[in-house]
């Protein structure tokens, strides 16, 4: 018999398994244990810190971490589920397939809560845009999201796209999905005798070892070898899967539901019954297969897409099957739940695996050594001769990170389902959920800061997301997060991971935001080094439709008010980056008190109807925030400021807790009183952008700003790579 080659279990863990089981597992059992003990599924290197730092309880939390998605109460009888996941490794080797199956997977996670998927957002991190390989990633990923997301009828409403050469070999594709729930369907089954129905696609050989592959670093050989580990997406089946599942939810036919993702049948079955304190018996001969001669272990761990596992009872089975028949979906009754806490697998009439559930689901924590990196800057001031303000403004505005991403989001259907009130390109997306209530959604990361200071960078991502929700008129309610890190066995990468999760936990706690779900992606590391520790925060807020507000200037005769204090904080800024000085200077510090207070003040001014537009200040600082407001609203600006800071420092500092408000003349006094802000200028009906601080000034036509901003990634001369 061929010995199964274990990929995720070390010698010490092997001993633990044999001891706990009281015997050596057979090949099939090893395969099952192997996937369940992978980093991707078990979180063995991160679980201890998740427990230590992340708080998941809160007033609006209905379902916290541990199920397929977190659920938040938006209003009475109005619930939303949301979750984020990474599909980094598959997207590195097969950008199109990796990104599209990433969409499919996260949508099924939301579906398995009994929710209707209503929106997608994605956070993309790519390598140096001057490199050909980066465009192989960008074009494949964007088309993958577009082709899959558009076809399943779920709008892609927002996200972010960032660039740095640290992602050359390891691009990041983090995808979040949001759903509306009427009645939550648990992913846990505690009822004995329930029928387990597998439905959706057939099971094939694609995605075998997907989780193992996500739990290793990529080297050049793996890029070719591991293509078979990437699953194949079928959006039509996914669409039908959504329709059929929704019909089952409406008729209350499901006891429990789980999607099949990493670890395939093994993971879905053992997690479903494991958390319910029972077991299951599975008959592999029943599983509809796409290919002949699949071995039992392949069937058990295949990650073929578009499959769901449903638990129901005999009484409802007929209705379930008639729905599946209607939508032409494959289905099979593959087993049932049993009182013994065991997973028993049968194949060709023989019992081929018989394991206690715990050996699959209770994976011991793995501890790794940590070594802090020493070379962080110790002061805020960076010594350099500033370029002319106009030159700097144009450079920063046209930089890959800051410039418009319209070329990307225009390829996504962001309108389907007719809920999208604030569309891509603003601070956050807003979706209308009921007549007067909506959700605000944003995805944010601050890897530029994290590259210098992972702790402060993680805090920064939370703060930025917080401001983005507030800037559209929303009240921040909860977070799901995705931490992307290097190899946990690398002492410095593991230190960066620890700093990141500590920063996330502390910032979320300080801003009273529960973290209701998350994902950790390790091994984003190649022979050339690890990625910057990249925390992606997905924040959900509640918005009253009357308060919805955008960053585009609305009038040519209003006043511009700056809320929040500007400090000398250029470290990690876009400004230093375009000057080739990235890495110098301490990064902006998140001051919780200011962040919270200014957020409250801005919301108060918005709620009172005193404000025409709002934009938060982040990448590129105040001057970029103003430029964007002018570009979006197609109006002029005349701003004059005095500051104790050097002019360019004031203009480009990325200090947190700041907003720009456009306020009509008659409300200036009120807004100043509420926000403690200061008037920095006014809007005009001219076509020029004038900004002056101390002895620095710039006067450029809006048209030039627009062209610079729009050029973005689309016209960087790389279209020939298509």
């Amino acid at each position: 018999m061929i010995q199964y080659a274990v990929r995720n279990i070390n010698e010490q863990e092997k001993k633990i398994i044999i001891k706990r089981l009281g015997r050596e597992p057979n090949d099939v059992e090893w395969a099952m244990i192997d996937v369940m003990w992978s980093e991707h599924i078990s979180y063995k290197s991160s679980r201890a810190f998740i427990k230590k730092y992340l708080r998941s309880s809160g007033r609006h939390v209905i379902v916290g971490p541990g199920q397929d998605a977190g659920v938040i109460e938006l209003a009475k009888n109005l619930y939303v589920a949301f979750k984020i996941e990474s599909h980094n490794h598959p997207s590195a080797v097969d950008p199109y397939g990796g990104a599209s199956t990433g969409i499919g997977g996260i949508v099924r996670d939301i579906l398995s809560m009994g929710a209707q998927p209503i929106a997608l957002l994605d956070s993309l991190h790519f390598g140096d845009p001057e490199k050909r390989r980066t465009w192989f990633h960008i074009l494949g990923v964007v088309k993958g999201i577009s082709d899959y997301g558009n076809r399943i009828g779920v709008p892609t409403v927002g996200g972010e796209t960032k660039f740095s050469s640290c992602y050359n070999d390891n691009p990041l594709v983090n995808v979040a999905c949001v759903g509306v729930v009427k009645k939550i369907v648990p992913s846990v089954l505690s009822k004995v005798g329930a029928v387990l129905v597998l439905y959706g696609n057939r099971t094939g050989r694609d995605g075998i070892h997907g989780v193992s592959f996500a739990s290793e670093t990529l080297d050049d050989e793996s890029i070719e070898e591991d293509r078979s580990a990437v699953q194949i997406g079928d959006p039509l089946t996914e669409k039908l899967l959504i329709e059929a599942s929704m019909e089952m939810f409406n008729r209350d036919l499901a006891y429990a539901l789980k999607d099949l993702g990493g670890g395939g049948i093994t993971c879905a079955v053992s997690e479903m019954v494991g958390k319910g304190g029972i077991g299951a018996i599975i008959d592999l001969d029943k599983v509809p297969l796409r290919e002949e001669n699949m071995s039992p272990y392949e069937i058990l761990i295949s990650e073929s897409q578009e499959r769901m596992l449903l638990a129901t009872d005999r009484e409802h089975l007929r209705d379930v099957l008639s729905i599946l028949e209607k939508y032409d979906l494959q289905w099979a009754i593959i087993g049932k739940s049993i009182p013994e806490r065991r997973i028993i697998v049968k194949y060709k009439g023989k019992e081929i695996a018989n394991l206690p559930v715990e050996i699959l689901t209770d994976v011991p924590i793995q501890r790794h050594p940590i070594k802090p990196r020493k070379t962080s800057p110790d002061k805020y001031t960076v010594e350099f001769t500033p370029p002319p303000l106009e030159e700097a403004l144009i450079k920063v505005l046209g930089s890959p990170n800051v410039s418009s991403k319209e070329w990307i989001y225009e390829q996504y259907d962001f309108e389907v389902q007719t809920r999208t009130v604030i569309k891509p390109g603003a601070d956050a997306a807003v979706l209308k959920i009921s007549e007067d209530i909506g959700v605000a959604l944003t995805l944010d990361s601050c890897a530029d800061y994290a590259s210098i200071d992972p702790y402060e960078g993680a805090k920064g991502a939370v703060a930025e997301a917080y401001r983005n929700v507030i800037s559209v008129g929303g009240e921040p309610l909860a977070i799901v997060d995705n931490i992307n890190a290097g190899d946990p066995n690398n002492v410095s990468s593991y230190w960066a991971f620890h700093e990141t999760i500590r920063g996330l936990g502390n910032a979320a706690r300080a801003l009273s935001l529960p973290i209701v779900g998350g994902n950790v992606s390790f091994y984003n590391e190649s022979s050339k080094g690890a990625i910057w520790p990249t925390l992606v925060v997905c924040m959900l807020g509640r918005v009253h439709m009357d308060n919805v507000i955008t960053p585009s200037l609305k009038s040519g005769n209003s006043c511009l008010i700056l809320v929040g204090e500007t400090y000398e904080e250029l470290g990690g800024s876009e400004y230093l980056k375009v000057l080739g000085l990235h890495g110098q200077g301490k990064v902006p510090k998140v001051r919780y008190k200011e962040e919270k207070l200014n957020g409250k003040r801005v919301i108060k001014a918005i709620t009172k109807g005193l404000v025409l537009s709002v934009h938060d200040i982040s990448d590129g600082g105040l001057i970029i925030a103003l430029a964007e407001m002018a570009i979006f609203g197609n109006r002029g600006i005349e701003a004059r400021v005095k500051s104790d800071l050097r002019g360019d420092v004031f203009a480009f500092s990325e200090s947190h807790a700041r907003y720009v408000l456009e306020v009509p003349q008659e409300h200036i006094e009120d807004v100043l009183r509420i926000t403690k802000g200061r008037v920095i200028g006014r809007t005009t009906n001219t076509s020029s952008f004038y900004f002056e601080v101390n002895n620095f000034s710039v006067d450029v036509p809006i048209k030039r700003l627009k062209e610079t901003y729009a050029r973005g990634v689309s016209l960087m001369g790389k279209d020939q790579f298509i």
């Binding site: 390829q411 996504y412 009130v421």
Partner: protein, 227 residues
């Protein structure tokens, strides 16, 4: 008399609920009809074929749906004078089945485009456009990969109902998002009862979602049916 408007749903159709909402908002009774329920479609007063990706656009957009029995029945109903409106993929199904002339080819930039556009209304003598003014500029979003209209047998310029324009009504290359022949966004058959358009009127049914010019298209249809 209550007006019932049928919405055929093919595998992969994804704008059925949006059209449903818009029809309801416009004041008629919408009815989603699964493509296998042939008998149901015969009982309605008008048909709106919604957008999406029927059969995932395999082979060509709309090609497989065009060859289903459901579409055959819709063709018959249209031939008997029932108003039929095809939106986006619905328009693609209408041209693929030969109910409307021409073809819808891949956009000039070879990419999917989701964007709000301005449209110039050329004809107001159809059941779908009678509430617009002649030459009126309206706003709706497009979202498609294959929307470049290419004329074919049976087409003539007088069938053009909607053209892509800018906000001032200029119809030119700059205001043409996908490279359509003569900026065509929508056409009608010679009899005037079957119309197809690439933009999504149902997505322009509420002011808070960006505009409500599209709602008038459904209201016009209902008005027509009431008369």
């Amino acid at each position: 008399m209550a007006i019932v408007i049928g919405i055929p749903v093919y595998p992969g159709t994804n704008c059925d609920f949006d059209v449903y909402k818009a029809i309801k908002l416009a004041g008629a009774i919408p009815k989603r009809i699964w493509y296998k329920d042939y008998e149901e479609i015969k009982k309605v007063d008008a048909v709106v074929i919604p957008g999406g990706f029927s059969y995932a656009d395999y082979i060509r957009a709309g090609a497989i749906a065009a060859r289903t029995k459901m579409t055959e029945i819709i063709k018959e109903l249209g031939a008997n004078g029932m108003p039929i409106l095809g939106i986006c993929n619905g328009f693609q199904i209408l041209v693929e089945s030969g109910i409307l002339p021409g073809a819808l080819a891949v956009n000039k930039n070879a990419r999917f485009i989701c964007r709000w556009v301005h449209l110039k209304v050329l004809r107001i003598d159809t059941p779908f456009t009678q509430l617009y003014a002649e030459g009126e500029i309206i706003k709706m979003p497009i979202a498609h990969m294959e929307g470049r209209y290419v004329p074919g047998e049976g087409f003539s310029d007088d069938l053009i109902v909607l053209q892509y324009s800018d906000r001032k009504g200029n119809v030119n290359d700059e205001s043409n998002p996908n490279g359509s022949y003569k900026n065509i966004a929508g056409i009608v058959n010679r009899e005037g009862n079957i119309m197809g358009l690439m933009p999504h009127p149902e997505r322009a049914s509420e002011r808070i979602l960006g505009g409500n010019d599209g709602l008038r298209m459904f209201k016009a249809l209902i008005d027509y049916l009431k008369r």
